[in-house]
Symmetry: C2
Subunit: 203 residues, 2 copies
DNA sequence: AAGCTATCTTGACAGTGTCAAAATAGAATA
DNA sequence: TATTCTATTTTGACACTGTCAAGATAGCTT
C-alpha cells in the first residue's frame, strides 16, 4: 500500500539495471560492461534492457546523469559548511572536493566527461541538461570568487571558469587514466594547481 | 641495390599497417579501427598483422609512440625559432603549440594520453620510454622558465610541471572529447590559461 | 637441391550490440 | 468475470569483433 512499485514482471527493472551497471563499471571499468552480461546478472534475457534503454549509449548516459547529480550534491554544501574561510581557502577546498569526487568515482567521472558519450556516442537530451546546469553552477561560483578579487576582473567569468575547470579536469584525467600513478601526490599537485590559478596581484 | 627493403612476401607490411591504421583512426576515430578491416584494406588476411604486432594494443602503442616523436619534434624547435621573446611570451607560445598539436592530431593525442593504453591496455616498454622522455623535456623546460622567474621558485619544478601540464592536457581533452565545442574559443581560453598559470608576483 | 625460418592464410571459437518476431503477463474494459 | 489491449520479456538471428592453433608458402642459407 506504500509506494511499493512492483508494476510488471520484474519490478522496476530499469532501476535494477542502472544500479547493477554502475556496480559493474565501478569494479571493472566501462569496458567491462556488456549488455548481455548485465542482463544475465540481473537474471533477465539479453534484450530485455533494450525496452528501458534505447541503447547501450543511453544506459551509459543515465549513469553519467546520476553522477552529475551526485557531484552537484557533494559540492553544493561546501560554502555553507565552511563559512569562515577566505576566498582563496574556499577555492582550494572546492578544488580538493572536486578531485576527491573524481578519485572516488573514477569510472562514473569518465562517463560524465569522456569521449565515449560526448564524441563517439550521443549524449541524451536529459544528460545535456543536467551537465549544462552543473557547469552553470561552476561559473556562478567563479563569478563570486572573481568579485572577491581571487581572479582577474578584466577577464569574463566564463573564460576563467573554462580555463580553471580545464585545469582541474586535466589533473583528474591524468590520474584516472593511469598516467600519473602516484596517488599520494594527488592532493599536493592539486594544491599547487589551486595556488597557481588564483592571482595574487590584479593583472 | 639501394635501400629498397622488400624483404618478404609483402614488403615491409609492418610500416604499411602502421600508416594505414593511423589513417583510419584519423578519419573515424580509434573506435573505428578494427584489426580485420585494417588487414582487409591493406590486402592481407585477418591474422597477418599479428606477426608484426602482438596485439591490437601493441599496434595502438606503436601509433602513440610515433605521436610522441612527432610532438617532440614540433615542440623542440620553438625556442630557437623565437629567441627574442620574453619568458612569458615563450611560455604562451609553447602552450599554443601544444594545443595546436593536440588539435591537429586529436586521435593520436587520445592514444598518447588516453586510458585505452595506459589504464585498460598495457603500454609497451618502448612507449613508456619515449613518453617518459617527452615529459622529461617538459620538466626541463619548466625548470628554465622557473629560473627566469616565471614560476614560484619555492615549489619543486616537477610539481609545477605536473600542474601546468595537467592544465594544458585538460584543455586539450575537453575539446578533443567534444565537451567544449566552440573551436574559436580554443586559443582564447589557452591564452587565459597561460596567463593564469604564470605568477606575476613571487608568492 | 635441401632444409630452415620468417611470413602469411584458413578455420575456428567465444564474445559483442541489437534488430525482428513471437510469447507472456498485467491492466483496462466490456 | 471474460476479453481485449498493451507493456514487458524472450527466442532466434545477423553481422561484427579480437585472436588462437594449425597449416601452407615464400625466400634465404647451406
Amino acid at each position: 500500500m506504500i509506494k511499493d512499485k512492483k508494476p510488471y514482471h520484474h519490478g522496476d527493472l530499469r532501476l535494477t539495471l542502472l544500479n547493477k551497471a554502475t556496480d559493474i563499471i565501478r569494479q571493472g571499468g566501462v569496458e567491462s560492461l556488456s549488455m548481455r552480461k548485465l542482463a544475465d546478472q540481473v537474471g533477465v534475457s539479453r534484450t530485455a534492457p533494450y525496452h528501458h534503454f534505447k541503447d547501450k549509449n543511453a544506459l551509459l548516459c543515465a549513469i553519467a546523469e546520476q553522477g552529475f547529480l551526485l557531484q552537484d550534491q557533494a559540492v553544493k554544501q561546501i560554502p555553507s559548511e565552511h563559512p569562515q574561510l577566505t576566498a582563496a581557502a574556499m577555492f582550494e577546498h572546492y578544488v580538493l572536493a572536486y578531485i576527491r569526487f573524481a578519485n572516488e568515482h573514477p569510472e562514473t567521472y569518465d562517463l560524465m566527461f569522456g569521449r565515449e558519450i560526448w564524441k563517439t556516442g550521443a549524449p541524451t537530451e536529459s544528460l545535456k541538461l543536467v551537465s549544462k546546469n552543473s557547469f552553470r553552477i561552476w561559473v556562478e561560483w567563479i563569478e563570486q570568487l572573481q568579485q572577491q578579487g581571487l581572479f582577474d576582473s578584466g577577464e569574463p567569468a566564463l573564460r576563467i571558469a573554462q580555463a580553471s575547470w580545464a585545469a582541474l579536469h586535466g589533473l583528474c584525467r591524468l590520474f584516472n587514466d593511469g598516467i600519473y600513478v602516484n596517488r599520494d601526490d594527488l592532493e599536493a599537485i592539486a594544491r599547487t594547481s589551486a595556488q597557481m590559478l588564483i592571482s595574487p596581484s590584479r593583472s
